[in-house]
């Protein structure tokens, strides 16, 4: 019996591999493609090198204003105003407090993910917002009070986004359940609210919250500007969350509802134990999507006079020693937003991909 050695597979034919083949297949397959490719290369050639040059190679990274000799970006402006971009007018000696809350947030997320004890989890979830507010606002336990008109910069942006997300979530779920319920009055109220809010731009709701809301309460009750904006944003976001959650609720097979009823569970037991965990899980990608929109929408608070990170661009440029640095400011803020939004959208895509494989 002859014994044959296993031979190495022959490489692919020379005209089917290598750089030249790749180029020919992907860039120059026919005349139309070649022209398009040439156009793209030309476009990249005229945009990328100057942009990189301005951003990095010719940029001024350190020193003072006198050191600016090159005509690239003057990042020393950002470095000089960095604290203001991050904290706004928050007193400099108290910057550790927002930083501490940021660290607390990381610990909070980690503990919620890792802990198994459900009661401990609930305690932590209820305590976290309270502790954060106390640390940032102060006024309790001997911490110095920092009024909200001193909050600003990235800190304010993140606070507005975080409060909007956390507070709108339960309201949104209730609205979604109301919209799905069989009770005509509750359903009408919920549908009316959701469709009204989704039909108008956020800026009109913010105007409503900042101008009309104070009229709704007794003279004694005084809302500060930030709180009004937060109420407006929360109500706005709740309507969008409600629609996302409704999508999740509708995707749950009817058998799940019937099964929970046949087990003798009450409406709330069935919802909390059976339906919502499944519905929320499949809505995660869309929920993240709506959080991204909210994060981008927080910029609108500058129109009603709060100083978020975008408003800081104009504000830092009104310093008579540092005039005319708008471009650097906008590019820096763009970069910050882009990082936040892009990473969130990548996260939502990865969740989506994970679900897709689970379903198959």
């Amino acid at each position: 019996m002859a014994i044959y050695d296993i031979k190495e597979a022959k490489p692919a034919p020379i005209n089917n591999r290598g750089l030249v083949f790749w180029l020919r297949k992907n860039l120059f397959s026919d005349i139309k493609n070649s022209l398009l490719s040439l156009f793209c290369i030309y476009f990249l050639f005229i945009t990328v090198p100057p942009a990189l040059d301005w951003l990095i190679f010719s940029a001024t990274w350190s020193g003072s204003q006198e050191d600016i000799v090159k005509d690239g970006a003057r990042w020393i402006f950002i470095i000089e105003k960095f604290d203001q971009f991050i904290y706004g007018f928050y007193p400099e000696n108290l910057h550790w407090r927002p930083l501490f809350v940021a660290a607390l947030t990381v610990a909070f997320v980690a503990s919620v993910k890792l802990l198994n004890n459900i009661k401990l989890k609930i305690v932590i979830i209820l305590l976290y917002p309270f502790v954060s507010i106390v640390f940032i606002h102060g006024g309790l336990f001997g911490l110095e009070t920092v009024e909200t008109n001193k909050w600003g910069g990235l800190m304010l942006t993140v606070i507005v986004a975080a409060v909007g997300i956390i507070a709108s979530f339960p309201i949104g779920i209730l609205l979604a359940l109301g919209r799905q319920s069989n009770m005509p009055i509750v359903k009408t109220l919920c549908v009316g609210f959701i469709e009204f809010v989704r039909g108008v731009p956020l800026i009109t709701i913010l105007f409503m919250a900042s101008v009309v809301l104070p009229l709704f309460f007794h003279d004694g009750i005084d809302f500060d500007k930030l709180l009004r904006a937060l109420i407006g944003i929360t109500l706005f976001q709740a309507a969008y969350i409600a629609e996302v959650v409704r999508g999740g609720l509708q995707a749950i097979p009817k058998g799940q509802y019937e099964a929970s009823e046949s087990l003798g569970l009450s409406y709330w037991q069935g919802m909390i134990l059976i339906i919502l965990p499944q519905a929320l899980k499949i809505s995660i990608p869309n929920l993240v999507g709506s959080f991204i929109s909210l994060f981008k929408d927080t910029t609108l608070v500058l129109i009603i006079g709060l100083f978020d990170i975008l408003a800081m661009v104009t504000l830092t440029n009104s310093d008579s020693n540092w005039l005319g640095y708008e471009v650097e400011g906008y590019v820096f803020v763009t970069f910050i937003y882009w990082i936040f939004c892009f990473s969130m959208s990548q996260y939502s895509k990865s969740v989506e991909r994970r679900f897709n494989t689970e379903l198959k």
């Binding site: 397959s29 290369i41 509750v186 108008v200 105007f207 309460f217 975008l310 939004c341």
Partner: protein, 395 residues
């Protein structure tokens, strides 16, 4: 002997009966909402009275007395009323939305198709475009175009000039204004007649195709008729349209059409931002058509453009159109951010200037919201109509 069957209701107490509970719960919910509304309204009237603010819509007849940088209808600083301001604002909102929707559709379509291109560079560049502009807040983009790009344009005396008739400077974009002379009405009439004619021609072509299977090049012929008829009439009627070219007089231009920089920045930012969403919708729509459809059409021997027009597009459009229309609505709502750069649309003029002058916050903000609600309702009715029309029939 027959025992009546135990009906569940008889053994369940009143409060445990789901029907009764539903009624009680709803009454409570309604009561809560009514109470809240009563409480708010009560406080509101007390506060309004205490602050001496007027109520009602009589302010609409008062003279506004402020200037507006762009008006599509006759408006006069000295004599026009607040209701005219409202109209000007709505029209300016519609104008910027219309312009932006036009450009964003073209751009979004190109980028969406580009993402599916076989060409590596085109696909990657389209992806970079989408991922970049989608993740930057629209307000930031508007401010950037307005405060950085347009502010860096030269002054009127050093304007960038194109063909000697179009000028770009920091006061806006100037272009020749067509002047309609006596016989120019005929051109419009010719255009309308051509459109009607092409409509009937298309119906005939479809019917003939259904009956005999013969194709009629309706797009080429129809396009030619619509284009050529007005041009022909233009020459026959003795060229009744002339143009007024903007001219530099002193420090600024006189004459011509001026597109104010606020409109440019807003239209630009809205188009670029919304195009990313439209591109994604287009891509998803085309990807939703199963590959087998194209292969089957290929194996039937259909030509490439016929496959696109008769097999791929009809199926893809069903998926593409609803999200795209939603994006149009978002664009209209986002145009309200114009208030940050002072483009005179409804929010700037009404919730901004008018509110500051009149102080009747509730009426003014509700009127502004009503405008957007109206747009939303119109667009969702349109969407429902399209969905009903495009529903797959016979299933």
């Amino acid at each position: 002997m027959s025992n009546p069957p135990n009906t569940p209701t008889s053994s369940v107490s009143f409060f445990n009966n789901p029907k009764n509970r539903a009624i009680i719960f709803q009454v409570l919910a309604l009561g809560f909402v009514v109470f809240l509304a009563y409480y708010f309204a009560n406080n509101m009237f007390a506060n309004i009275e205490a602050r001496g603010i007027e109520t009602g819509f009589s302010f609409l007849d008062q003279v506004a007395g402020f200037g507006i940088s762009q008006t599509l209808v006759a408006y006069d600083d000295g004599s026009s009323t607040y209701s005219r301001v409202f109209l000007v604002g709505v029209l300016n909102t519609l104008l910027v939305s219309g312009i932006a929707i036009f450009f964003t559709t073209i751009l979004g379509l190109l980028i969406g198709i580009g993402r599916l291109s076989n060409n590596f560079l085109v696909a990657k560049l389209s992806m970079v475009y989408v991922e970049t502009f989608r993740n930057i807040p629209i307000l930031l983009q508007i401010l950037f175009w307005y405060n950085v790009v347009l502010a860096a344009l030269p002054s009127p005396r050093q304007s960038l000039s194109y063909f000697g008739e179009y000028f770009l400077n920091n006061r806006g974009f100037l272009m020749p204004r067509p002047i309609m002379e006596d016989n120019s009405g005929y051109i419009l009439a010719a255009l309308i007649l051509a459109c009607i004619g092409v409509f009937f021609l298309a119906r005939w072509a479809i019917k003939r195709h259904d009956d005999t299977g013969e194709e009629f090049p309706i797009f080429t012929v129809g396009g030619a008729i619509i284009l050529l008829a007005p041009v022909l009439v233009y020459f026959v009627a003795g060229q009744p349209i002339s143009s007024e070219i903007p001219e530099l007089k002193g420090f600024n231009f006189k004459g011509g059409w001026v597109i104010i920089p606020e409109l440019l920045a807003l239209a630009f930012a809205l188009s670029i931002y919304t195009a990313t969403y439209i591109a994604e919708a287009v891509r998803a729509g085309i990807e939703s058509v199963p590959k087998g459809q194209k292969e089957a059409a290929n194996s039937l021997g259909l030509k490439e453009h016929v496959i696109l027009r008769k097999v791929i597009l009809p199926q893809a459009l069903r998926v593409i159109i609803p999200p795209v229309i939603n994006q149009y609505l978002n664009l209209v709502k986002n145009s309200s951010l114009a208030t940050a750069i002072g483009y005179p649309e409804i929010v700037t003029l009404f919730s901004g200037t008018t509110l500051n002058q009149v102080g009747q916050a509730i009426e003014i903000i509700l009127m502004t919201m009503a405008v957007y609600l109206l747009f939303s309702i119109v667009i969702s009715l349109l969407l429902n109509w399209i969905n009903a029309k495009m529903e797959i029939k016979g299933r």
